[in-house]
Point group: D2
Chain length 351, copies 4
Amino acid sequence: VLGRGGASEAVSARAWLDGMLAFEAGLARAQARVGVISTEEADAVVNACAGEFDVSEIAAGAGEIGNPAGPLVKALKERTDAPVHRGATSQDVVDTAAMLVTRNALAVIGEDLRGAADEAARLARAHRDTPIMGRTLLQPAVPTTFGLKAAGWMTGLDEARAGLAGLRLSVQFGGAAGTLAGNPPEVVGLLAEELGLEPPVLPWHTLRGRIGELAGALGVAAGAVGKPARDVVLLSQGEVAEVREAVGGGSTAMAHKHNPVAAIAALGCAQQAPGLVATLLTAMVQEHERAAGAWHSEWRPLSVLLITVGSAASWLRASLTGLEVDAARMAVPGDTGHAAELVDRALEARA
Amino acid sequence: VLGRGGASEAVSARAWLDGMLAFEAGLARAQARVGVISTEEADAVVNACAGEFDVSEIAAGAGEIGNPAGPLVKALKERTDAPVHRGATSQDVVDTAAMLVTRNALAVIGEDLRGAADEAARLARAHRDTPIMGRTLLQPAVPTTFGLKAAGWMTGLDEARAGLAGLRLSVQFGGAAGTLAGNPPEVVGLLAEELGLEPPVLPWHTLRGRIGELAGALGVAAGAVGKPARDVVLLSQGEVAEVREAVGGGSTAMAHKHNPVAAIAALGCAQQAPGLVATLLTAMVQEHERAAGAWHSEWRPLSVLLITVGSAASWLRASLTGLEVDAARMAVPGDTGHAAELVDRALEARA
Amino acid sequence: VLGRGGASEAVSARAWLDGMLAFEAGLARAQARVGVISTEEADAVVNACAGEFDVSEIAAGAGEIGNPAGPLVKALKERTDAPVHRGATSQDVVDTAAMLVTRNALAVIGEDLRGAADEAARLARAHRDTPIMGRTLLQPAVPTTFGLKAAGWMTGLDEARAGLAGLRLSVQFGGAAGTLAGNPPEVVGLLAEELGLEPPVLPWHTLRGRIGELAGALGVAAGAVGKPARDVVLLSQGEVAEVREAVGGGSTAMAHKHNPVAAIAALGCAQQAPGLVATLLTAMVQEHERAAGAWHSEWRPLSVLLITVGSAASWLRASLTGLEVDAARMAVPGDTGHAAELVDRALEARA
Amino acid sequence: VLGRGGASEAVSARAWLDGMLAFEAGLARAQARVGVISTEEADAVVNACAGEFDVSEIAAGAGEIGNPAGPLVKALKERTDAPVHRGATSQDVVDTAAMLVTRNALAVIGEDLRGAADEAARLARAHRDTPIMGRTLLQPAVPTTFGLKAAGWMTGLDEARAGLAGLRLSVQFGGAAGTLAGNPPEVVGLLAEELGLEPPVLPWHTLRGRIGELAGALGVAAGAVGKPARDVVLLSQGEVAEVREAVGGGSTAMAHKHNPVAAIAALGCAQQAPGLVATLLTAMVQEHERAAGAWHSEWRPLSVLLITVGSAASWLRASLTGLEVDAARMAVPGDTGHAAELVDRALEARA
């Protein structure tokens, strides 16, 4: 229920391990390009990284040193004599893996947000002129159109997606104290190139703006998903019954019920986001060159935030897909103002 | 790193499933005791509950109906013709399972809090008169004793444990709309007896004070753990070096380092709690007889909160166990006031 | 809108100042009782504390030293030569003032929670047997009674009030490093007696369990208020129209509207609580003998939390007072189970 | 202590009132430009808006209708017969005022962030090559330079400022149900022009992405301020003593202390931000055309968030201004890697 869509898989323990291996392989390749290590050595490291690793073994080892990079490097060194992890520190590995994991998760989240917005756009177009009572403070106010309501959902989702698309996903590389000791500075740019991430101006071991921005944008996405989900739930009430989910389900106790399960699940997922955002923002206050605890407090909230926002987006998309609209029940007399023109404007702005 | 101690296991998917099965078996037994079903039927249900179930299959089914109780009841009904889940609703099952899971998790968390407090008590006793510079606003102020500092850790941990011990862990049983339709009211008390939980005055499907109180008490426990962890980290600084963890570890890049790994991990876990508490408190505003989303938003934060507080407590206990105290480095001249008497008072209050 | 009820006044800048003056006067009296200072000196301090002080002047001075106790002590010393603030530290003054302010605010909050619960009890009694559709996941489920719904509101509010009533409100007194240097330990108990607060086992400058517990209990109270407020808003929807606020209001644009203004304002206030609770829990991790920032981060959230929960309770009480119930519209055929008996049980448990 | 800098004044009750008056005057002017009302009528409205209004009277009236726009419009209508607030709804006024207030607050916050970053840049330049022990997990690691540390502070602050500068500050205008009924759509763009805000594609009464983005960016700014503040506090410890605030202060109890008051106050302010961000993100889930409670729950958190982030920035600027650096105490032998080059790169990226 809480892990629908592809984000859960994108942030699995396996995915984190793959991200760490990608860092070590990419670093070796980048170091070979500037001559810090030989091409043969790089190949040996890359080969070692391509092997099989036991996720639970690495996790167990992480408990001893306090992070998962240590046991992974140890496992790699058992497989090759070539220089692994040269001039790198644990946080270089884990932060870069976090960015790779995030990139993959954002891709599926973005796709579900886009899909949900497409459905909303379809509804906006189809119901551009369908009158519906506008409701303010949950009281009937004056008429609007269902198309304008759906256009609002679409706009909110598109804006949230744009926010996610604009994030900085940067490689992390600085070594023990962030001075790039033991590596020429060019390695950073080359490593970024290898991994398809941005090169940062400075190592960001304790400059967590990137994480804070990511958290904020995911929090906004959760809100943008929660809004239409709440509207669908309210419009599905027995006394209102203006929409009906195609995917809704029954209950263990009452066969006659048709619950808007997808919208409810979307809400349940979206509402978990703000607290996680707060945790990640709190964690921005990190000490000196690498933090004592605040960094560790980021790992799980980041993963869970990606999962819950991804799940929310996936559920909302399911809710809006095939949403049955009862235009006859919606019908309300009166002036809908410029609702239809606003729909057109929003659809144009999207195109 | 983030799931040390027994709480992770206590809130695993398997543990949740076991809790749900305990509910169904307990309900059948309670219903047999008042004659709603026969003893033979109850035995059949209890037997069915004792069988093997595939956690991942139940989870997959949960995605369709929106909660895990539906597929479980379905699986039970495939195994027995006896009346399963009579007059119950999904939330009866899941909430009761949550309370059973919580009870088990609180037992291990309480044990680790007690263990950490015991270590703090040992330090308080041993260093009742060991002078150390009192530090306020991270500046040297006037002397105190290390024993008083440790007595403060102990007191905070004990108070947090008392808060957890005082929580209401109640069975949930109300049926579809919380009216106990189809069951005599006595079933609630008998079910509570069967499961070792409290009987509530009313079904609490949307009266979430219990969850809010649990969240608050876990948040306080996290803070009580974080305080000594922060102190250990600060006292372990190279420039201070007044304590040294017995369990501390090295780094991937610098063999000479002795990091206070356990205290750092405790901090990293503890700092994840407040955001989760906020999510659970936000979820208290639940609609009518059963909520549309807010209830769903409780499940993961509750599990993660139990895990992260449990992990924090376990790490702190490890940090304080065998903590090496350098009384010579601590030594500072001057009046320690009534520090030693305060230590005595705190130890007496504990006994 | 956001500061209804008496809590705002109870936590005003003037109230904080009064609390600080009460500490200084109480300390002098307590010290005279054990002979640390003479009765004449104590009288002089008490007299000085009874004078007029300019709140904004103290606030301005606070900016220089970093807390308001410094400028207040300075102002007192300008008025008397008797020993003011002997052996005390800034945090002794401010924390004790916080407890006095909290006590007063909790009194008015408790009174409004009780008043709201009384109204809910009245509705429960009057509508013990009034059938209404039970709604789960915002879908019609099976019948219940409006009395049971109201009994749930009552129970949640009463439990929240009990949580607030059980809080520890303790005097703070420890001096510069919490060792009671310069004062006999008995002063703590006497000072507590003077102020009507509890004496703590240890000074709690950096043991913030009390603040965390207070935050948690206020968060629970906010949730307990938000739940009935949400129900009233939903039941007031045009399509449902089963209740109508006596105090509801119109809109600037639409004269025909009757908005459930009080319930909406209650919700708006209640929803501000969880984030503030998280801030206060985060602040529990305080360094050494007195913290560098975390303590400062408590002041405003504590005041605002008291205000917003108090305002929520006051608005809910207004919403429920005279709430018009349309039993005819509620009417639904079918079995209401044991709803009426549950109402009786809840009312008995209250008495 | 908690309201340093200009943000407090920028979000005062008076400032909110001025923002609301600016909306009404701007609307009249915009409506005159398209001929909805006459130029004479617009002048009358503008004149009425320029009069004196009693903030506390408007606030009192707000309690009755549930928002401050109602009593303000009433007060204006008592002063002029010209059409005030035509086709507008309360939320148009309050949201637009919020954007104007935010714009002014962001200007002063941005200025203090810039000032703090300038000081950090100065330190980075001056100490480009000053060796200092790099500290990871609060343990000595390998050398870096103090200039690189300061360059990190600068970069974080600059990035946070860029995030604030990129926010969308849009006018709100949609009327009762957001359909622009009774006004030609061009009014929105003209009103935006009058007020120097952006015109939105759609009315955003319940599309709160703008508020969520603002909250996120302010949360990031708080983190960017908290990081250097924490470093200054740690570097100021008695055992480290590598920096000393020029503005630091003493204590009520210990004359010898030199507390880094400004950095501590900055931390105390910054740590209040994440919880407020969570509240604003939670509030994004707003019902239908205008929300029942969630909108109301934004007002105070938004004001307080602007105040606390502004105060944090102002305190940090004070902390860094004239910060005394003890290069001799910092001195540590060993290789500082490419620290100096990284400083150059960061300074260049800034220019």
